[in-house]
Every structure is written in structure tokens, then in C-alpha cells.
């Protein structure tokens, strides 16, 4: 008979647990305990079996020894090599059942956390790839071994099969904290989480357990993690600072906007605060210390110390150049503040003005001289009123000598005046 290339789908539940039979003798060697897959390709490809022998020992069986897969019945193997004693996986291999069955994954497309019931595998002759996660009720029933029974009832009533719910591997981010001793995040190099908006990422994090939260954070760089931190409820931010390694926690705090960092640090114990401060750059620590001393009711407590400021000798082109090179660290780049020789604020121009002007035009000709500003000790309610009155997106904060200390964004001002709004968004209840 000619070996026809057959393409079809099978489920992991149809392989796990079936007997493993020697092709030549027909002798039963044991059962399939798990399926090994390699992560080297676009889709994980099955590369071996974890075989549970009759004596209870688990051994590794390379996929090339598998001769035939009879779904739900048996796996036939031609044993050429002696089984290795123990189950040892190579660097890019994972156990499919242990990693995914009953575990949570992030559905990138739907940006939510779902629980995996079964795995949907594409079988092309003897090559098998993991293509979908089965997260639907049929998958659950299949695992319980009563799918055909329930489906028969459903079909007789609705004259249609039950609907499967699959998520393509392309949109799956595994979050199992560790497999054996190695972190899975290290094995799956390409973090798909970076496609998500930090706010969605934060929603996902809220739904997870502690270890999964750490696993996700470990796959993000400090900047992304810091952005996501802003969207998390304060209690979870504090929880995370306590469970993350100190180096990592300080790294994230360092990447946070100054007002957010202070907000967080004022909620941790003195011991933790000092430990984190010891790992931050010196000038940052000084700023944090100053801000921590300011009462919560005044403008100084809201301000962010990263802002765009240029000397009065600058030109529009220099302004744009500065924004281009340093944009990453600024929370708001829309207003550019112009400072005189003594660092006092003499004017302000908008990004729009800088963009539409000729590059050689001096900022002195563009800027507006009358700058609406608040003082360090202005009450936060008055700050909010200024936003209401002038429709600004950010307002500068100055000290008594008119030296620019920081800016307050509209978001920060609103959160303080309407704390219930922030609470409702953070902790929906």
C-alpha cells in the first residue's frame, strides 16, 4: 500500500494515557505519560514521548522511534535504542501535558486569562505540531471522557454539534511559572505580551496568582513593567514589590515616573524603602526623599520631576532634537519650558509650535511669556481647578525663586481630586 500523506487533527487527550506497544512483538511497554515538544519552530513540534514503564519509572522516548499513532488506542514504536534511565529534556523542550493541561494561559487576541482544557494538534503523517489551545466546554467534556455522550444529547436537541473554542498558538502566551526547575519564560523567547497595551496587561495580571505574576513580569523589560505598574491597584503593586527580587523591584521603580514611584514607595515599610533606595541612582534617591516629605495635599506630591526644558538660547530644531533623543523618559512632551540663566521659567511653547516653525527659529520668539504655574505648596484642589479653567494637559510646578521643579499631568491631578474614580478603575467592585 502506498503511504498517503494524511493531514488531520488530534487532541492531546487522545494520546496521553494510551498504551505504548512494540511494533515488532506487539508487547506492551507501558503508557504515554506525557508528550514532549520542541519550541524551536514557529509551532511547537512533538519530539518525543514520556513513557511510563510498568515499574512506574518514566523514561524519554525520541519521536523517531514512533511508528504509528492510533488516536485514543495506542502508540506503536519500533524500539531501536535502549531507553535512557531518566526523563531528561533538552534545552528547548517542554512537556505538553504538564505545561498546559488545566493551566492558565494569556489569550493575546482577547487579552484575557483562560484555562486550557486540551491541546489541539495538527498531525501530518508522523509529524505533529501544537496548533491550538482548546479552552471550550467540548474540550472539558473530552477530558472527562463524556464528550460523545453529551454531544449526542446536544445534537438531538439543537441538531448541531457543540461549538469548539480554540486559541491559535500564535496568540498564546504560556505563564506556567516553572517546569521542573527552569523557568518557561526563558524557553519561550519571544514574549507575545509586548503586543498588549499596559492597561490590558495589568488587567491580566490582576487575574493571576503570585507565581504567574512574577513569570509575566520576568518576560517584560523594566520600562514595560513600569508602565504596567501604573495601571495596577496600589495593593497589588505593593504585593509585587515584596515578592520580586530586590534588584528587579528597584529596576522597575527606577523606570517609573517619579510621582508613581513615590506613590508606591510611600506605601512600603521603611526597611523595604531603604533597600530599594540603596539600589537606585543617587540623584533619584534625593528626589524621592524630597518628594516623600511633601504632604499629600499639595501640588508637590503630584509632580513628576521629568519634564522637557530648554535654555532660552535654544532654537525650535534643538527642541525637537532634545525630544527625539530623550522622549522615552518624559511622561508628557507636549509642553516645552524655557529657562533663563538662573533656571527660572521664563516661557512655554507647545510641541505643535516647535514642529511647525523653521528649525533655526529661536524659542524666545515662539514662547508665550505668561506661564500658568503652581507652587510646591499649592493645594491639589487648586491645581485641578487650573486644569479645568485652562484646558491644559500638564502644568509646571515652581519653587519660591521660580525655579522649575516638575510638572503635573492632568491624569495625576484628576486621580487626586477624584480618588473614587481611580479606585473604581483599579478595583472594580
Amino acid at each position: 500500500m502506498i503511504n498517503v500523506l494524511r493531514k488531520n487533527f488530534i487532541f492531546l487527550s487522545q494520546i496521553v494515557g494510551v498504551p505504548v506497544v512494540d511494533l515488532a512483538t506487539g508487547a506492551r511497554l507501558g503508557r504515554v505519560a506525557d508528550v514532549v515538544a520542541t519550541l524551536r519552530e514557529m509551532y511547537p513540534r512533538v519530539s518525543g514521548l514520556a513513557l511510563k514503564l510498568h515499574n512506574g519509572k518514566k523514561v524519554y522516548l525520541p519521536w523517531r522511534q514512533v511508528a504509528r499513532v492510533n488516536a485514543s488506542k495506542s502508540v506503536e514504536v519500533s524500539v531501536i535504542e535502549v531507553f535512557s534511565d531518566s526523563l531528561r529534556l533538552s534545552e528547548n523542550e517542554i512537556l505538553l501535558k504538564e505545561t498546559f493541561w488545566d493551566k492558565q494561559i494569556v489569550d493575546i487576541e482577547g487579552s484575557k486569562v483562560v484555562r486550557v482544557n486540551d491541546l489541539h494538534l495538527l498531525k501530518e503523517d508522523l509529524n505533529i505540531w501544537l496548533v491550538h489551545m482548546d479552552v471550550g466546554i467540548p474540550g472539558l467534556l473530552r477530558r472527562l471522557g463524556c464528550y460523545s455522550f453529551v454531544n449526542a444529547i446536544v445534537r438531538s436537541i439543537f441538531s448541531a454539534d457543540m461549538e469548539d473554542r480554540f486559541i491559535s498558538w500564535k496568540f498564546v502566551q504560556p505563564i506556567t511559572p516553572s517546569i521542573g526547575s527552569e523557568a518557561l519564560a526563558l524557553k519561550v523567547h519571544h514574549s507575545k505580551l509586548s503586543h498588549l497595551h499596559p492597561a490590558d496587561l495589568a488587567d491580566i495580571l490582576i487575574d493571576l496568582g503570585t507565581d504567574e505574576r512574577i513569570a509575566i513580569l520576568n518576560s517584560l523589560d523594566n520600562e514595560t513593567a513600569a508602565q504596567m505598574f501604573q495601571e495596577l491597584p496600589l495593593k497589588i503593586r505593593v504585593q509585587l514589590v515584596y515578592v520580586l527580587p530586590l534588584e528587579r523591584a528597584s529596576g522597575i521603580v527606577n523606570a517609573m515616573a517619579m510621582d508613581e514611584a513615590v506613590d508606591l514607595l510611600s506605601s512600603v515599610s521603611h526597611k523595604k524603602l531603604n533597600a530599594i533606595k540603596a539600589r537606585l541612582p543617587k540623584e533619584k534617591v534625593e528626589q524621592i526623599n524630597t518628594l516623600l516629605k511633601i504632604s499629600e495635599r499639595v501640588a508637590g506630591s503630584l509632580m513628576n520631576t521629568d519634564f522637557v526644558a530648554v535654555p532660552h538660547t535654544a532654537t525650535a530644531g534643538m527642541v525637537l532634537q532634545k525630544i527625539k533623543t530623550e522622549a522615552k523618559k518624559f511622561e508628557s512632551i507636549y509642553y516645552i519650558y524655557v529657562l533663563d540663566d538662573s533656571s527660572a521659567v521664563t516661557g512655554v511653547l507647545t510641541l505643535r509650535q516647535a514642529l511647525v516653525s523653521a528649525p533655526e527659529k529661536p524659542v524666545l520668539e515662539l514662547m508665550r511669556k505668561r506661564v500658568v504655574k503652581v507652587h510646591m505648596d499649592t493645594d491639589v484642589h487648586d491645581v485641578a481647578e487650573i486644569f479645568y479653567k485652562y484646558n491644559f494637559t500638564a502644568v509646571p510646578v515652581v519653587d519660591r525663586r521660580n525655579i522649575l521643579k516638575g510638572i503635573i499631568t492632568m491624569r495625576d491631578a484628576f486621580e487626586t481630586v477624584f480618588p473614587p474614580i481611580r479606585n473604581e478603575i483599579e478595583e472594580p467592585s
Binding site: 493541561w101 503570585t210 505593593v238
Partner: protein, 419 residues
Amino acid sequence: MFNKLKETPFLKNLIIFLAILGPGIVTGSVDNDAGGITTYSVAGALYGYNMLWTLIPSFIALVVVQEMNARMGIVTGKGLADLIRENFGVKITFFIFLGLVAADIGNTATEFAGVAGSMNIFGASKYLSVPLAALLVWIIVVKGNYKITERIFLFFSVCLFSYVVSAVLAKPDWTAIGKSFVHPHVQYNEAYLGMVLGLVGTTVAPWMQFYMQSAVIEKRLKIEEYKYVIWDVVIGCIATVVVAFFIIVACAATLHVNGIVINEAKDAAMSLKPLAGAFAAQLFAFGLFVASIFSAAILPLATAFYVCEAFGFEAGVDKKIYEAPEFYGLFTAIISVSVLIILIPGAPLISITIWSQIINAMLLPIVLISMIRMVNNPKIMGAYVNNKTQNAVGWATTVVLIALTALMILSPLVSAYLK
């Protein structure tokens, strides 16, 4: 000035503690539901003060089990249902939950029976009081805001102390009470033993563990705050046994002394009237009403919660109905079915109660063993696995509870065989 006060260690601790307070106390109060009050009343009426000693082992079992839940909740940040599914697979989870749902429908029906019984004392028909109570519960949970709901629940917990007044009005014999703890007259017959099992069994129920762990997670605590959680658990357990104590005392001082036998908590309230006055009877009925409606809200809610959690459906009262249809569907279905059971004339309420107790008793060992195995797994608990003492106490509690429940299930069979 307030900031200065916050600096003194005692006040600082107190403030943190008050913020954390809740999960243990609410769980402890739900524990004294209609079924519990019935058991305590019957025990007090039948055996007088002679049953009071069982509250001590009940208390220990409660603290041990709930402490493990609280610890697992804080360390893993995951619900018990999640953990069981991830560690023991889908099949065992499915069967636990099949049992839990069945038992909880039965229990919820018992709660609505408590509503019907207590409102009966105040002269309201069950065809009016039960649907209204169900509607009230549904609205509080579905339309309410979590903070308000928790406050209502804490208020309910305080109301349960009306039993203290009921008991004092019954003028109990305090010396006899004291003696019953020091020298309990344990009888070795089937009826007495059955009562002991009933009392211990009604305090530790499987659904509580799921509820407790979820409630702790909702508080978003860090491990440094664990010591406060322990206090919350201990205070909740004390509240449970104190309320149980006064119910038993109230019934012992009146019904037992006069040789009145009762079958239901409602009977206890009615019999109190000529013996301790109408006020004592009304307080008793009020306590029963509060306890019933309290548990009628929490039980279906907790059930819907952990079922959805384990099977990966969206869940939570913060979600809209169309966002979490399975969750709200399950919650509404449990309430509706329980109400129907009560309203159908001649429904076999007593056998429903007994069967839900039996299912609970069968599930308890499975849940407890799963819990102990997980709380000892360093992969799950890291450095916070049980130490030797915790394990000794934990296993002892588990084994005793399993033995008790096995006895409770098997004793009718054995006695039937012996006859």
C-alpha cells in the same frame, strides 16, 4: 496628630488589623447557618449542657483548617479551586464540584427553610417571605457594590450575638455549664455519638474552605501581613463557637430542663416563648433569620465562584451579566432551585438536608487531603510549607474529621445490619 498616633506600634498594628479584618469573621458567621443553628438547638434541648465540650475540638479543627486556607491564599494568590484543578487534574475537580453543587443547593434550600421558619414566628407566610428574601439576596449580590455588601455581611455577623441575649434571658445555671467543660458526661451510645458527629460536622464544611481562601485573596495581602490574618481567623472561629455556645445554652436552660423535644430551630424559638419570654423568642428567631439570609447569599455566591474559577469561566460580582453569563446563571439557578424546593408543598426537606450533609461529609476528606498535600508542596508554597507541628495538628484534624464523617455515614448502615 493622627499621623503621630499611627507611629505607636500598638495603634499601628490595630489599624492594619482592622483593615484586614473580614474573611475569617464572615466565614465564621456563615458557618452558623440555619443548619448549624438547628443542630445546636437540638443538641441543647436533648442533652442540655452535656454537649458543650464538643465546641473545643470543633474550634481547633476550624482554626487549623482555615489557617491553611489563609496561608495558601496569601502565598499563591490563587483560589482553592484553581489549585486543585492545576495539581490534581480535571476529573477529580469535576467530581468534587458536582458534589459541592448538589450539596450547596440542598444547603441553600435549608437556609430558605430557616427564613420561612423564622418569619413564621413573626407571622409571615412562607409564600411571601421566601421569594422576597430570595429577591433581596439576588439584588444585594448582583446589583450591589462589594464594599457595601461586605459591610452588610459584617453587620449580619454582629446580629448573631442576639443569641447571647436570648441565652442570658433564659437564666442558665452557670456552675453546671462550667462543670460540663471540666467533667463532660460522655455517653457511649449511638444517639449521643451521632449528635457529637453532627456538631463537629456542621462547623467544618467543605465549601467554607473555598470561600475562605477566595476572601483572603480579595484582600490582596502580602506575606508580612500574615500574622494579622491569623488573628482574623482565630477571632472568626471564636465568634463561631461563642454563638454556638449560647444557642446550646439557651436551649439547654429552657427546653432541656423542661423536657421539651424539638426537630427544628423554629421549634426552639417557639418553645422559648413561654419559658424565657416573647422577647427572647423573637431574638432567637431574628438570629435565625439573619443567619439564614446571610448564608443564603454567601453559599450560592461562593459555589458559582469556585465552579467558574475551576472551569475557566469569567466570574465575579464586578463583571456585567453578559460578561460572565455562566457565573450569574449558576448563581441564579442555585437560588431559584432552592426556593422552589421550599415552596413545593410536601417537599422532602428533611431528606434533602440529610443528603446534602452526607455529600458534604464525603467531600470533606477529599478536600482536606488535597489541601494538606498542596500546603506541603514546596513547588506551590515555597518556604511557607507546613512545619512539623502544623503537619501533626493538620493531619490529626484531618484523620479525626475523616473518621467522624465515616462514622456518621456508616453508623446507620451498621446499626441496620446489626438489627
